[in-house]
């Protein structure tokens, strides 16, 4: 055991006195203040006691407690309490006082700081009957408190300012007389008095004077909600702009198809990752791409942008073939069936696509083959031989999941083609011993076949240049930038773009006539071909980077295919393609502390949402409220009920309903005359400010944050009604009645603005509000268009319709039933103590749809075992990357390039 101390460090007085008093044997080593004895602490901290176990004690109080325990004096509640008080109350005050006195020469203020703690101690001691703090003899608390107070009470400067403290001084004197204490002081201060501490104090960070008042990071967010300070001028400007009312613009909000880029307009093309056709999307998929893109598209249209939103189902690939075999249908029938399922789910969620297409079209073949030939002509494709397993009986190459055999590592007999379930190691299907086709149990053969690779390394320089420009000028989410950069940092490798399958876009090259394109190459081309199905003039969107701004929405697993791989295809094709300007990727949405799982029946899937009886708008609201922006979030039934009841019902719905009801009940359904007073103007300015925030946030695609602005406005509105009490004033005199009129009129206009702001989030509710208020059709667009701001859109005399409640309460029984039905986990609350903790957390991500299903391409030629080994390692790395992408459908093929390349 070893004790490290430094000279002139007041904390060392504690431990040295403790050591002397207890007589514990221990080496003492003197080191400098800067010595970092404890490796894991950021700053050098002393004293430190190195325990026999090798652990470091760096808290002087814990060291003292330990020393006393070693000699059999255990901690008591009384002692503990004094030590805690010393650490939290006394010590900060003492350090601050010493800092003020020794370094700043402010003795008066130093005394003030100490008054509280010293007063408390005086009172404590005056009630004690023992000579020392807790007992008849010196205990740990005496040593700790005495040493803490030593620099203060031994200094005459403090005498005048801290005042008479008879009990404290009496006790202090008694402890000082203990020989151990005197020796400790001598050892630390070296007879130089308090000046010895100067050096130490200078090295310490300045104590926080405001420490107690400074908000902790926890309530910092609450602070943001607090009232906003606005100047008179700002308030006046907002009020004047409001009073002008709606402009007479009658520009139609009707969409005219086909939407094409227009000169002089902001032309925005929005895509959402293409959901894979044979999965029913779950809530995580929906919020991750289609819903997020829908909110942005609706917002863009309100802002008057010339916007096109396209999406569709991704239909080619092994997974579809397998599904078809399972259900006894053809792949095309499977696609037709599930495309309809997808369509109806998105329709229920009110996803307002301009066009929802699919990838199995002629246009897809045409465009994909065109891009292929352009890449081929420009020398961006490489040829190589890949080894694969082929089942002659089934007449097809086997995907990894369709091979089983003996694990080459652990001899487990039922290892899968991609991984062994027993030893967990990744396997290349061709390495399996005694491989078997899972469908027919026959032994497949190893066949080598020629494949084509996209030469990504050759395109790397051009890609980097473009990325720098796109990321610099557009809005890329942090995760999108990060994932892209890490891909580039690891270096790009050629990627296989062909496969031995039937269900896909045929490769047009005569040497590869029995092959199709790999989905990752094929699927993103779907964006182009789907647009081509929408309009024959699709090139005006896709070969027009000068006029078009492209937004891609997706979950983060899809980022590399949109930021690296697909752009490389387009850059290499050299046909003036529109490349992504803004890449918006969400994190993952989990389900009640676990992941969505179709096979286990956990989670809510798109087709079940409508069976819950909860309106589509409420689903949209809650999913957007917890949109995984910046970090993962989790869907929870209880929280959904809470947000519905508190935010929608009690806040938003309550405000809008009250505003409308007052007009109906007190003013016969006509908006009353409004004479603005300061208070009304202030509310208008506040609402304007929130509206501005909303626009700024949505321009940057901060969809979740912008939703909070809407809720803030209705909160302000509720407060405004509460303070002004129109329901009381309406019964008063003339002035009061006029006041009630103004408050009601302003409120109902705020409700009208809310309907506009709600349109992207809750389209049905938004429309219902406008219907109830009989608001002019163009008011939503008018207020969000350009920077017009909050306008009085329902002027005095306007007649409103019938007002009724917008939301319904979600009862806890109803929610509990839903939670049980959809398999949410029980919260941990009721778990009895003593059970083994579960360290395995079900935290894996939900499977998002893959627009471009990534595949790990690599293949091992048995000819060169050494090289194969190296590559296997590289592949293992790539596979890990791929595990993140959650796509396991594709076989892993390991490739070795001939040495000539």
């Amino acid at each position: 055991m070893k004790l490290f101390v430094s000279e002139g460090n007041p904390h060392c007085v504690k431990v040295l006195a403790g050591l002397e008093v207890t007589g514990v044997k221990c080496d003492v080593q003197l080191v400098s203040h800067e010595e970092r004895v404890v490796p894991f602490l950021n700053r050098p901290v002393l004293p430190v006691l190195l325990l026999p176990s090798g652990q470091h004690l760096f808290s002087p109080n814990a060291i003292c407690q330990y020393l006393f325990e070693v000699v059999g004096k255990e901690a008591s509640d009384d002692g503990n309490q004094l030590l805690e008080w010393e650490a939290t109350e006394l010590q900060p005050a003492v350090l601050q006082a010493l800092h003020m006195l020794m370094l700043q020469g402010k003795s008066g203020e130093a005394g003030t700081v100490l008054k509280g703690p010293l007063g408390w101690l005086e009172q404590y001691l005056s009630k004690r009957t023992t000579p020392f703090l807790t007992e008849e003899t010196v205990a740990v608390a005496d040593i700790v408190l005495w040493a803490a107070l030593y620099p203060i009470l031994s200094n005459s400067t403090f005498e005048a300012v801290v005042g008479e403290l008879p009990s404290v001084r009496g006790w202090f004197k008694r402890v000082s007389q203990v020989p151990a204490c005197e020796a400790a002081v001598q050892r630390v201060l070296q007879g130089k008095g308090l000046d010895a501490l100067k050096n130490f104090l200078q090295k310490q960070p300045a104590p926080h004077i405001q420490r107690r008042d400074s908000p902790s990071s926890a309530n910092a967010t609450e602070m943001e909600d607090s009232e906003l300070m606005m100047t008179e001028e700002e308030v006046e400007v907002a009020a004047q702009a409001w009073s002008k009312g709606l402009p007479d613009c009658s520009d139609s909000t009707q969409k005219k198809h086909p939407i094409l880029p227009q000169e002089g307009k902001r032309n925005v093309l929005v895509t959402s990752a293409l959901p894979y056709v044979n999965n029913v999307p779950h809530l995580g998929n929906i919020i991750g791409c289609v819903l997020s893109a829908d909110v942005f598209a609706r917002y863009g249209r309100l802002r008057g942008w010339n916007l096109l939103y396209v999406c569709g189902t991704d239909e080619y690939g092994t997974a579809t073939e397998n599904k078809a075999r399972e259900e006894g249908l053809t792949p095309q029938e499977i696609c037709d069936k599930y495309h309809a399922v997808h369509s109806s789910i998105y329709k229920w969620f009110q996803i307002d696509f301009d066009y929802f297409g699919r990838t199995t079209t002629e246009q897809q073949t045409e465009i994909a083959q065109d891009i292929f030939w352009r890449l081929h002509e420009r020398g961006y494709l490489l040829e190589d031989v890949v080894e694969q397993l082929r089942c002659e009986n089934c007449q097809r190459f086997l995907a990894d999941r369709f091979v089983e055999g003996v694990c080459p590592h652990c001899k487990y007999p039922e290892a899968r083609g991609d991984q062994c379930d027993k030893c967990g190691r990744l396997i290349n299907a061709v390495e399996l011993k005694e491989p078997q086709c899972k469908v027919c149990q026959q032994t497949p053969e190893i066949r080598s076949s020629k494949h084509l690779f996209l030469d990504l390394p050759k395109l790397e320089g051009e890609l980097e240049q473009w990325l720098e420009k796109s990321m610099g000028s557009g809005d890329w989410t942090v995760n999108a930038k990060h994932i892209t950069r890490s891909w580039l940092r690891d270096g790009l490798k050629p990627r296989c773009i062909t496969r031995d399958l039937q269900w896909g876009t045929p490769v047009p090259h005569p040497d590869f006539s029995d092959k199709v394109f790999y989905v990752w190459f094929d699927a993103p081309i779907g964006y182009l071909s789907i647009t081509a199905n929408y309009t024959s003039e699709w090139e005006k969107w896709w070969k027009n980077p000068q006029q078009v701004e492209l937004y891609n929405f997706m979950a983060k697993d899809n980022v590399p295919f949109h930021s690296v791989v697909f752009p490389c295809s387009l850059l290499g094709a050299q046909d003036n393609y529109t490349l992504v300007n803004n890449l918006v990727a969400t994190e993952y949405l989990n389900y009640e502390d676990t992941k969505f799982s179709k096979s286990r029946g956990v989670g809510v899937f798109g087709d079940m949402a409508k069976d819950t009886g909860i309106p589509s708008d409420v689903w949209r609201f809650y999913l957007l409220y917890l949109r995984p922006e910046g970090q993962d979030s989790a869907f929870s039934w209880a929280d959904m009920a809470l947000k519905n009841n508190s935010e929608l019902l009690n806040n938003l719905g309550n405000f809008i309903n009250r505003a409308g009801m007052f007009v109906s009940k007190f003013f016969e359904g006509h908006v009353p005359e409004m004479v603005l007073q300061d208070e009304d103007k202030r509310l208008i300015a506040q609402v304007c400010w929130e509206l501005k925030q909303y626009i700024q946030l949505l321009d940057k695609v901060r969809i979740r944050d912008a939703l909070k602005c809407i809720l803030n406005i209705s909160r302000h509105g509720n407060q405004y009604i509460q303070v002004n009490e129109p329901w009381k004033k309406i019964k008063g005199g003339d002035d009061d009645r006029k006041r009630a009129g103004t408050v009601t009129g302003v409120s109902v206009n705020v409700a009208c603005l809310l309907s506009a702001m709600l349109e992207p989030y809750m389209p049905t509710v938004s429309q219902t509000i406008r219907d109830q208020l009989q608001a002019p059709a163009h008011c939503a667009r008018a207020m969000l268009y350009a920077d017009r701001g909050f306008l009085c859109s329902l002027s005095a005399g306007h007649r409103i319709g019938t007002v009724s409640p917008l939301f319904q309460k979600l009862e806890s029984e109803q929610i509990e039933a839903l939670r049980k039905r959809f398999g949410g986990q029980q919260p941990d609350e009721e778990t009895p103590t003593g059970k083994v903790p579960s360290s395995t957390v079900n935290s894996a991500q939900p499977k998002p749809p893959a627009a471009a299903a990534p595949a790990v391409n690599a293949s091992v030629s048995a000819a060169d075992p050494e090289k194969a080994k190296q590559l296997a390692a590289a592949v293992a790395k790539q596979v890990r990357t791929c595990a993140k992408c959650q796509i396991k459908n594709n076989p892993i093929i390991i490739t070795i390039f001939p040495s000539t390349q």
Binding site: P39, F40, N42, L51, S53, Q55, L57, F58, S59, N61, A62, I63, Q65, Y66, E69, A75, D77, N80, Q81, E84, W85, A87, T88, Q91, H208, R211, R212, D213, S214, S216, S217, A218, N479, H482, I483, S486, R489, E587, Y588, D593, G630, Q631, D632, S633, A634, D828, E829, T831, P832, T833, G834, K835, V836, P837, S839, V841, S843, A844, A883, K884
Partner: protein, 173 residues
């Protein structure tokens, strides 16, 4: 805040009869009124007292050394973590991350009161970390996830989602 913590701790310890607490001062220091003696003041003091009452003293450490380590982290919690500034949060996470590198629990190989109170105190910080930061402070996140799933601990706090797969490549910190 501290009061919620204490009532969760009572449940966690299996104490049947809930105590009544009040607070004092600006910092809202918890106070436990005691029938047979003066009131107890301070979070750590009261928490330790509850552990004794529940006859679960192993939660304060099994040896003098371990008891000292537990005390040290309890003190760290109330002096460093509580009311710390935004900049200080990063320092604390870094320190804990380094400390926890080779440890399962704060006091080594067994679960103690230090884990419970540190978990309660650090929850709001971890809750607000981005995925990337959670990966940066991997050891803290691992410890945190372990503690939040320890039977009976979580109670009043929302679960924080911790991913098992790394999303951001290593070498970023």
């Amino acid at each position: 805040m501290a009061l919620k913590e204490l009532s969760s701790l009572e449940k966690c310890l299996g104490l049947k009869k809930p105590n009544k607490y009040s607070t004092q001062g600006e910092r809202k220091v918890p106070v436990l009124q005691n029938n047979n003696g003066p009131a107890l003041v301070g979070l750590v003091t009261i928490a330790s007292h509850l552990v004794h009452e529940a006859k679960r003293t192993e939660l304060l450490g099994n040896s003098a050394e371990q008891r000292a380590v537990v005390q040290q982290w309890l003190e760290y919690r109330i002096t460093r973590l509580d009311n710390c500034s935004k900049e200080e949060v990063k320092v604390i996470l870094k320190e804990l991350n380094q400390y926890l590198e080779d440890k399962v629990y704060l006091a080594g190989n067994s679960f103690t009161l230090a884990d419970t109170l540190m978990y309660y105190g650090i929850h709001h910080i971890i809750m607000n970390l981005a995925v990337q930061e959670k990966e940066k402070f991997l050891n803290v996140t691992r410890w945190f996830d372990h503690i939040q799933h320890y039977p009976g601990v979580r109670h009043h706090l929302a679960p924080v989602v911790v991913l098992r797969n790394r999303v951001y490549p290593s070498g970023q910190h």
